[in-house]
Symmetry: C2
Subunit: 93 residues, 2 copies
């Protein structure tokens, strides 16, 4: 999941989808990237379960799955929590 957000274009797509479902043409227009490029990234996000496609006629709308984002967010928060808890621990050599 985090690896997917590492790519700038993919991160941009996720941000756009956070404002609501959108079809590929929207994302192509908003990002300025080429259509196959966007489509490839959407495939990666789809295979990872980050987005779900909703075919509507000849348009395909994509919707973000908040649970996945929440999972990643909780993971990072847990890491921060553990780091705080072990604030003054220092392993010996």
């Amino acid at each position: 999941m985090i690896r997917l957000l590492a790519d700038p274009l993919r991160a941009r797509i996720v941000e756009l989808l956070a404002e609501g479902a959108a079809c590929t043409c929207h994302l192509v227009e908003d990002t300025g990237a080429t259509q196959p490029n966007v489509s490839n990234h959407l495939r990666a996000l789809r295979q990872a379960g980050v987005v779900v496609p909703e075919p509507r006629g000849r348009y395909t709308f994509y919707r973000l799955r908040p649970e996945v984002l929440d999972g990643a967010a909780r993971h990072l928060a847990a890491l921060a929590e553990r780091a705080r808890a072990s604030g003054d621990v220092r392993r010996e050599c």
Copy 2:
């Protein structure tokens, strides 16, 4: 920040540091990676402000900065929140 966690070895290093400060030799031993490799990743994390070095004699201990992790976690949580809020929005073509 998220881009840094995209690398498996760097993610492992961050996880290890979440359990407490450790010197480079610890990280080298625990990850099984070579010393220059670990050192390079530590530099990247240091330049991004994710970790802070604490020189102790000839050892250099590294400590995680939880605020940075929390910032990333909050960013993802906010994204998930926005996605939930705009649950049934669908942009028109």
